[in-house]
């Protein structure tokens, strides 16, 4: 298999979240994390889920990843029920979750080594390709602790992209970074998404980030976690994080969120 063939990979997946509910039973109380959540995601779509903490957005992401099981309902990836984590749906976490016992190259190779049907030489080529894509080919021998926060997240992105998953699940991946680095990564992620079509589900509590990245923004509210509204963002790409249109969309999202979060919720803001 040539590098080009390997990189072409499988097409992005279609996802269906079908009436998913989830409870977390704790010692004192039971938390209703998700209540009858349904969502359809098209192949190659960029979905951003926004909401205050506790709205169940990370839980939903975990369920789509297969890391958690729903108490009710199901998730389908290309019409196949998701029962366990799998390498077609890779997750990028808020902390980079890079393995400190491996160097940068070893981290990118980790998922590739678990992918069957490749020779080791090909795996190394693929790893190098993705390190180049995130602009870190010079750092492949570096240790994780030597990298800055933004570089770590870039390595994590390369590690998640390298096995060529059909879905990329991103759980507040840029939340811990400084503003400058974050804005740079918005550009990178849009570029990479356009080049290497993936279905992306991206979780954040930053509405501007949502407006900048999403095809559709899913607004969630807590106790219990529910999807309240879905906004389409029809702006050309690549989008500039600091543009007026993004700001306008973001303030619309904020208004909607605030509307749902007032003690006596108003019906709709739009």
């Amino acid at each position: 298999m040539s590098l080009q063939e390997e990189l072409r990979g499988p097409p992005p997946a279609k996802l269906v979240v079908d009436q998913v509910s989830k409870w977390f039973r704790q010692k004192r109380q039971t938390v209703h994390a998700l209540d009858d959540v349904s969502l359809e995601v098209a192949e190659g779509e960029f979905i951003v889920m926004v909401g205050p903490s506790g709205c169940g957005k990370s839980t939903l992401l975990d369920i789509i990843a297969g890391l958690e099981k729903p108490d009710k309902g199901r998730v389908l990836a290309d019409n196949q029920p998701v029962l366990r984590p799998g390498r077609h749906r890779l997750v990028m976490f808020q902390e980079s979750a890079l393995f400190p016992w491996l160097n940068v190259f070893g981290n990118v190779m980790f998922g590739l080594k678990l992918k069957p049907g490749l020779r080791n030489r090909e795996r190394r080529e693929v790893a190098k390709f993705f390190l180049h894509l995130v602009g870190l080919e010079k750092f492949q021998e570096s240790n994780v602790h030597e990298l800055s926060g933004g570089m770590k997240q870039r390595v994590a992105l390369a590690r998640a992209l390298a096995p060529n998953p059909r879905v990329l699940l991103m759980d507040e991946p840029f939340a811990a970074l400084d503003a400058m680095t974050r804005e740079q990564l918005y550009g990178d992620i849009q570029q990479i998404w356009q080049k290497r079509r993936k279905t992306i589900i991206f979780v954040t509590h930053n509405v501007r980030e949502a407006a900048c990245l999403a095809d559709r923004v899913v607004i969630m509210t807590p106790t219990p976690g529910r999807i309240r509204e879905i906004f389409e963002v029809n702006l050309p790409r690549p989008r500039d994080f600091n543009s007026i249109e993004i700001a306008r969309h973001a303030s619309k999202l904020t208004a909607a969120l605030k509307g749902y979060l007032t003690p006596e919720p108003v019906v709709s803001v739009e």
């Binding site: 890779l90 997750v91 400190p100 240790n143 096995p163």
Partner: protein
């Protein structure tokens, strides 16, 4: 270079103070032999081979016992960290037995195994296992769960996850546990050798014991020096490479 020089200077000064104290003749030379007497003993003991054969016997017991202890302690620690039942049983047992000074195993070992090599090994193994179990257990427990989650999403199965994620992730704890286990093994073996005469081989502990019986203080101090030296060398050879690796990769700890 500067650090090495300073260290050498320190030890030379230590010996000089020792020699000066001997020179004052406050203590009888029977109680405080001169550095020269001690080094003469060491040279003679090396020439006639007793020192090397005793060190060999001791090291063989130590290494065999230590690695058996490690081979038992490591899986037990993984076991207690991953199973509630094992935590409540083996975990508690390990915690209790770790507080038991290893010399306390000697009477039991003697009665069970008699004056044999088996008794020695038993004491060393008992000295090693429990601290290794506890260190492994803590190591596995303190790993951030995010590593295992990340590995699972990349398709890592449970065996792969144990060997490629959980074990390497707990390496810093494992190394310090192995180091502690080594220290305990060394201590328990010396206690056993001083305490028990075994006809299958005289170790350093025995030489120390006979030094006392014969009032040969040069021998006592000489052997003590050898014991310290072996401990130091073991640390450098067995653990330093690992610690350097940890330092480089994790960016923590000392060089």
């Amino acid at each position: 270079m500067r650090r090495t020089l300073l260290a050498i200077l320190f030890f030379v000064a230590l010996v000089a103070i020792w020699a000066a104290l001997v020179h004052t003749q406050i203590w009888s030379p029977v109680l405080l032999p001169s550095p020269r007497a001690v080094s003469e003993y060491l040279v003679n003991a090396s020439r006639d081979g007793t020192l090397f054969s005793a060190s060999g016997v001791t090291l063989r017991r130590l290494i065999v016992g230590y690695f058996i202890g490690l081979a038992i302690g490591l899986p037990l620690g993984l076991f207690t960290a991953s199973l509630k039942f094992a935590e409540d049983t083996i975990g508690v047992l390990a915690l209790g037995l770790q507080t038991l000074p290893s010399v306390c195993w000697v009477p039991l070992a003697l009665l069970w195994f008699g004056q044999t090599e088996g008794a020695m090994l038993f004491v060393v193994i008992m000295g090693t296992i429990w601290s290794v179990v506890i260190a492994t257990d803590t190591g596995v427990r303190t790993i951030s769960p995010i590593y295992a989650r990340a590995a699972r999403t990349m398709g890592s199965g449970s065996f792969h996850r144990w060997t490629r994620v959980i074990l390497p992730a707990s390496l810093p704890h494992l190394i310090s546990g192995m180091k502690q286990g080594w220290a305990f093994a060394w201590r328990s073996l010396m206690a056993a050798e001083i305490y028990v005469t075994i006809l299958t081989g005289f170790g350093l502990g025995h030489l120390l014991h006979y030094g006392r019986e014969l009032n040969a203080m040069d021998q006592v101090i000489g052997i003590m020096l050898v014991i310290v030296l072996i401990g130091l060398l073991a640390d450098k050879i067995l653990f330093s490479p690992w610690e350097r690796f940890l330092h480089r990769r994790w960016g923590t700890g000392r060089t």
